[in-house]
């Protein structure tokens, strides 16, 4: 059974049909790409998947569990984590604290234990620190654990956002244009990291990207969206050679 199964997903804003009859199945461990021209509805699909918007119709199943129309936090707890196209970090928190917020629902103590600094607070905080540092090491951010997130250079901010998403221990990771604004070296590094994350965390990844080198380099399967509808779906190489896809991207 597929990890993510979407059937007939659709949403309208006023009269605009932003996403229409969207179907996809993503197997566990797959690295899946969602591409398409600007305004095709890619981010809207992410927003539907994470409960930012409620779908007008269709169903979303994650690992056999129905998450259609659930709230964002419930969907995150069910195992979906994401990054954002325009980076959304907790800019006045330290790098380590950003990750610790991601660990929030996995390592718990109550408010009173926190205020009174009871032994459980100490034990859990220690564990949080260790887990956060472990994640930061993966992204080579451990040296900047105490830096404010807003003081990180752009490329590292993108990486921190992925680290924070992984801290919520998701089954499915959604990356919204992870390479946007990166130079070729940084993109190459990012590709290595995404590959490593998949191996290391046994992660299923769905990503939106415009950088064709990244898409063709790491995605195994692709869906192409155009005007809110699926234009083409399948193995990366087949999709990229599809004349319809080339037409949508390059025009007639």
């Amino acid at each position: 059974m597929a990890l993510l199964e979407i059937r007939n997903l659709g949403i309208s804003f006023g009269g605009l049909r932003a996403v229409d009859d969207f179907n996809v199945e993503i197997e566990k461990g797959c690295l899946y790409g969602l591409i398409g021209p600007n305004g095709a509805g890619k981010t809207t699909v992410f927003n539907l998947l994470t409960g930012v918007y409620k779908p007008s119709e269709g169903i979303i199943h994650l690992d056999g569990q129905d998450i259609t129309g659930k709230k964002t936090i419930e969907i995150n707890r069910a195992g979906v984590a994401r990054t954002f196209q325009n980076i959304r970090l907790f800019k006045d928190l330290s790098v380590a604290d950003n990750v610790k917020v991601g660990l929030h629902n996995h390592l718990e103590y109550n408010t009173l234990e926190g205020i009174l600094r009871l032994p459980k607070y100490r034990a859990i905080e220690k564990q949080m620190q260790e887990e956060a540092m472990e994640l930061l090491r993966v992204f080579e951010l451990d040296g900047e654990a105490d830096t404010l997130a807003s003081n990180l250079p752009y490329g590292k901010q993108r990486k921190l956002e992925i680290a924070r998403a992984l801290a919520t221990k998701p089954k499915l990771l959604l990356l919204d244009e992870p390479a946007a604004g990166m130079n070729p070296n940084e993109t190459q590094e990012l590709m290595d990291i995404i590959g490593f994350v998949r191996e290391h965390f046994d992660m299923t990844i769905l990503l939106i990207e415009h950088d064709m080198r990244l898409v063709s380099g790491i995605c195994e399967e692709l869906t192409v969206l155009n005007f809110g509808r699926v234009l083409c779906q399948g193995k990366t190489a087949d999709v990229l050679n599809n004349p319809e896809v080339i037409k949508a991207y390059l025009g007639e």
């Binding site: 994470t50 930012v52 964002t72 936090i73 995150n76 707890r77 984590a81 994401r82 954002f84 959304r88 970090l89 907790f90 800019k91 006045d92 928190l93 604290d97 610790k100 917020v101 991601g102 929030h104 629902n105 390592l107 718990e108 103590y109 408010t111 926190g114 205020i115 009174l116 600094r117 607070y121 859990i124 905080e125 949080m128 105490d146 404010l148 924070r164 998403a165 801290a167 919520t168």
Partner: protein, 364 residues
């Protein structure tokens, strides 16, 4: 042991910062006690010691809403009002029942803080979904409503229990040996004088302990995450409503605590625009912003400085509030105007020739 502590101190910036904050309060307390024992302190200043603690607690508690949660509240005096009246009401009723002041006052503190916290929850549930200036005006409105309603509340007690009215004390229909406890605009008279400077300092330290420990805990991180980016916080599974409400109600409860301290320092408690109106809420906000949004220690310092300033200028009579206003404007420009910050950094660089550290950080 001591060495281990010192190394821990060096490595842990927040621990160090917290210790400085607590130390500052304790040193100020000892200094004042010494001055008082030596008889140097003027009566005017002696009378200001408890209010100073009240304002410091208010500023720290409002900073939890404004600086840590990142929401603008203009109704903080309303929560102080709830704490003051509920606790004064309790103390007056129990004056004869619980003769031991310590026990009675402890209970009054708990009652005052809890009722203010409860109001925080009741008000927070509907209004916290509003944003920015809309939230500000609604909290202002709630503060004014609370003050207004307290002014028309009459409560009396006789052998048949409590009597309530919104018209006059005669409408309470009390029996002969009944007493009026809350008398509308005249408020509560004869609250036991249980507050003093030492208790004020203890309550301030308690407030600091709660707020600082909350900030540096899992819940505090969640609250600050909501402040920095609500959508991202939601995406990593933070319950926005729960944590907004938590910060708001703890902030309200601590304002209630300040109210308890305030009420038990006066023989007559009335709800005037001056002490519980929007002017008071705004003054607390001035403390918070001037001291640095999110900077807990700064809140205490600015509350103390801005409360003492008009008193120190008393010799200037009519000009003192004028000077106060000018000092406030100048200090705001000096602290916040980007041009001033640049200029200050340049001076600091010239003086130190060292790396410029960013000033006005959000860390407490």
């Amino acid at each position: 042991m001591q060495k281990a502590f010192m190394t821990k101190l060096k490595s842990n910036k927040t621990l160090k910062s917290n210790l400085i904050t607590f130390g500052m309060v304790i040193i100020a307390y000892i200094l004042m006690e010494i001055l008082m024992a030596a008889g140097i302190l003027s009566n005017l200043l002696k009378g200001l010691l408890v209010p100073l603690c009240v304002y410091a607690i208010l500023a720290v508690s409002l900073n939890l809403t404004v600086g840590i949660l990142g929401e603008l509240s203009l109704g903080h005096a309303g929560f102080m009002c709830v704490g003051a009246f509920s606790s004064a009401f309790f103390s007056k009723c129990m004056q004869d029942v619980i003769p031991i002041a310590g026990v009675r006052f402890t209970l009054a503190i708990i009652i005052g803080a809890l009722s203010a916290g409860l109001f925080g929850i009741l008000i927070g549930i509907p209004v916290l979904r509003l944003k920015g200036d809309y939230l500000a005006i609604v909290t202002l409105a709630f503060g004014e409503i609370i003050k207004n309603l307290v002014n028309i509340l009459y409560v009396g007690l006789d052998e048949n229990g409590f009597h309530f009215s919104t018209k006059s004390s005669l409408d309470l229909n009390l029996s002969e040996n009944g007493t009026v406890i809350i008398q509308g605009a005249q408020g509560i008279t004869g609250t036991p004088h249980d507050s003093n400077f030492t208790i004020g300092i203890i309550l301030l330290l308690l407030t600091l302990f709660i707020v600082l420990n909350l900030i540096h805990s899992r819940d505090g991180r969640a609250i600050m995450a909501i402040r920095d980016n609500t959508i991202a916080a939601e995406s990593v599974g933070i319950n926005i409503t729960k944590y907004k409400l938590m910060a708001f109600s703890i902030s309200a409860a601590l304002a209630g605590l300040a109210g308890v301290l305030y009420a038990h320092n006066l023989s007559t408690l009335t709800a005037l625009p001056k002490n519980f109106g929007y002017n008071m809420s705004i003054m607390i906000l001035v403390f918070v912003v001037l001291g640095g949004i999110g900077n807990i220690r700064g809140s205490i310092i600015s509350a103390v400085v801005l409360t003492l300033l008009p008193e120190l200028l008393r010799g200037l009579n009519d000009y003192r509030m004028l000077i106060y206003a000018i000092v406030l404007i100048v200090m705001m420009l000096f602290n916040w105007a980007p041009a001033c910050i640049q200029w200050r950094e340049k001076i600091a660089y010239k003086l130190k020739k060292k790396k410029i550290v960013k000033i006005n950080g959000k860390e407490a």
